[in-house]
């Protein structure tokens, strides 16, 4: 014979189960308390019949807040931008005409110190070190600095941080109640130094279209001769597992041409094959296998540093190559990668980049 308390608990459990509505599923099921994440809602019951016209709009509630930018993709699918909301688990309710569909406890809001969903953020590779302050001495009396700027042109705050957003107990309560590190609307920021080559930054996808970055390296001892060289900031969609092609790369005795290869997943040491071809085609004139070293950590899918390898001069590495222009092919060993070459003139220290286009 069950005790009354247990019977009551069992009844409560059954009742709760009976009340839980599962008319829809949400992906991802986790977002920031700041809002501005894009989620997809799959409706188990279609909004309209197969031959009916799709409704132009619907209302999507997340707990007691309403989502923005509702788009009806098809009769079973809606995309919506999450509202800001205090930390916690909420019901998602879709209302369209007389139809109301509910997903009980389908979405969670979380902040700094709490859970975070990697798919809500776009990775951006910062290929070289950021050192805007004290110049770094180079060859032929060159003095190098590099400057990274970021700008949020949106009318809403956008989360942006380097690597996994570790919680700093000294300045943050780490309860999951506050947004992750972010850039205010219509704000430009010059980054401080100390950012290592191959660092991965993350931009909230809901604001990444209106989020801009700029990285320039220059020799401040020659500012009268040149304003520097633009270095690409590489968005996640440009990372690739297929061979990376660098065309028309100068390899000659007038300059040193370096090659940098990044594994943006950064989980372990890995390898990449490099083959160098004449611009007219044919078999490879030179090849080598590179080992990319793991340097950082991966937490909840966020990588701090890409695994990385650097060849300082292709001309000395492959002395069999005559002065000229070449196609350099980098073949990742099953990792999401990126690579670029840079040619620095021995006398003038002027830099030419060759990036995959």
């Amino acid at each position: 014979m069950m005790r009354p308390t247990l019977v009551l608990l069992a009844l409560l459990a059954i009742t709760t189960s009976a009340w839980a509505a599962n008319d829809l599923t949400v992906s991802p099921r986790l977002g920031t308390v700041l809002g501005n994440d894009t989620v997809t809602i799959h409706l188990n019951t279609p909004l309209v019949c197969p031959t009916c016209t799709l409704p132009t709009t619907a209302v999507v509630g997340f707990g007691d807040a309403r989502g923005r930018n509702v788009t009806i993709v098809d009769r079973n699918t809606i995309t919506v931008t999450t509202p800001s909301h205090q930390r916690g688990v909420v019901d998602v309710v879709v209302t369209s005409g007389s139809l109301t569909l509910t997903g009980t406890g389908q979405f969670s809001f979380s902040g700094w110190g709490g859970a975070i969903a990697r798919e809500n953020y776009e990775a951006v590779l910062i290929p070289i070190s950021v050192a805007p302050g004290t110049p770094i001495p180079g060859a032929n009396f060159s003095q190098w600095i590099s400057e990274l700027w970021v700008r949020n042109s949106a009318s809403r705050t956008v989360e942006y941080f380097l690597g996994f957003p570790q919680c700093n107990q000294l300045v943050n309560t780490c309860t999951g109640d506050s947004p992750f590190p972010s850039i205010l609307p219509m704000t430009s920021v010059a980054s401080a130094g100390g950012i290592t080559d191959g660092t991965l930054a993350y931009v909230q996808r809901g604001g990444s279209d209106t989020f801009s970055l700029s990285l320039r390296v220059r020799d401040v001892s020659r500012t009268n001769e040149n304003a520097g060289t633009d270095i690409p900031l590489v968005r996640e969609e440009e990372f690739r597992k297929t061979p990376i092609q660098l065309l028309n790369v100068p390899i000659d005795s007038l300059s040193r041409t370096s090659l940098r290869v990044y594994d943006t997943e950064g989980k372990a040491d890995t390898t990449a094959n490099v083959r160098i071809y004449a611009m007219t085609g044919g078999d490879p004139l030179a090849s080598t296998k590179l080992t990319l070293l793991k340097r950082g950590t991966v937490s909840s899918g966020f990588t701090t540093l890409a695994s990385y390898v650097f060849i300082s001069d292709l001309h000395t590495t492959f002395p069999q190559l005559a002065d000229g222009r070449y196609r350099v092919e980098v073949i990742p060993a099953n990792f999401l990668g990126w690579a670029f070459a840079s040619s620095t003139n021995n006398d003038t220290q002027l830099v030419t980049t060759v990036t995959p286009q």
Partner: protein, 345 residues
Amino acid sequence: MVRATVFACYLLSAICCLAADITVTPKSGSENGGDLVTLSGLTACNDCPGPTVRFGGVFSPQVTNLGNGVLQAITPPHVPGTVDVSVDPGFGGTVTNAFTYVTSGTLISANYERILIPLSLGSQQFPGAYGSLWASEIWVYNGNPWAGEMLFGNPDATCCPKTLIEAGEMRKADYIASSLTPFGIVAWVQKGSSRGMNFSLQVRDVSRAKLHSGTEMPVVHESEFHDSIDLLNVPIEPSSSRTALRVFNLDAPNQFPIRIVITRAAGGDPLVDDNTVVLRIAGVGGTVPSFARFVSLDDLAGRYPQIVGVGPVQISVSTGTDAKVWAFAAVTNNATQLITTVLPH
């Protein structure tokens, strides 16, 4: 487990062949193949191994299972005409007369992605300031394991390049140019091939080849155009260089104004808020559209003297409409003629 899955897929196939409502998009493409076709309304079989798709009995060189009953396939070459599209076990059956192959070089604009070549001097060399002699080089390499088409309108009617670029072919493509303008040239690459079609564009002062290897210019894919573009940390130093702003649009039907806002690099009140600048078509002619809409402000400091002496600036270019633009700044040193580009990232 795999065998069980395959068996399940075959079973599903038998059912779905009777019930499937498969759509094929687009419904036509080049006889050379290389087009990206989406098949939807198939039986959802997310774990089925190795889906294959045939066009007129010829296997697609690459099929991607997007899940939820959607496949994407690259078309194989086939003689012109209408063919059946067949999907293998687990996904559906055969859709008769579902795809039409057309003659090579026919522009079906929905099948192509436009590629902006911001600057091309062709095979010519042009004298510039301070004894400079400018040249540009465009290279294209097809890294796909299938041939792909790149269409160029050839408005000068001076050459007859092949539209087809074979798998693994490297091509010097200086023919993508026009005597009408060096700016805003457009080429068209099949969407099914554009990811693996690699470009290189460099501009350099050949009179100073021993001092510098040149400046890389971006080749801009259609997807990189936006309704606003921000250029950050742009140097404005008229005592040593001139800074130009160049803005492009691919598809507005007519000329239209843009808005240019310039602030200090760190933001603040606008130093410039100009909506009088108009994008105009860079040129006309060609067998397919060959020119972007374009404007060049060759000397920002001369046009907007209020930005001189404030240090680097931030430039925002927007349209205020659905029209999309792409823009970059070029800083040319007065003495050395060396170019620094500032690009949107």
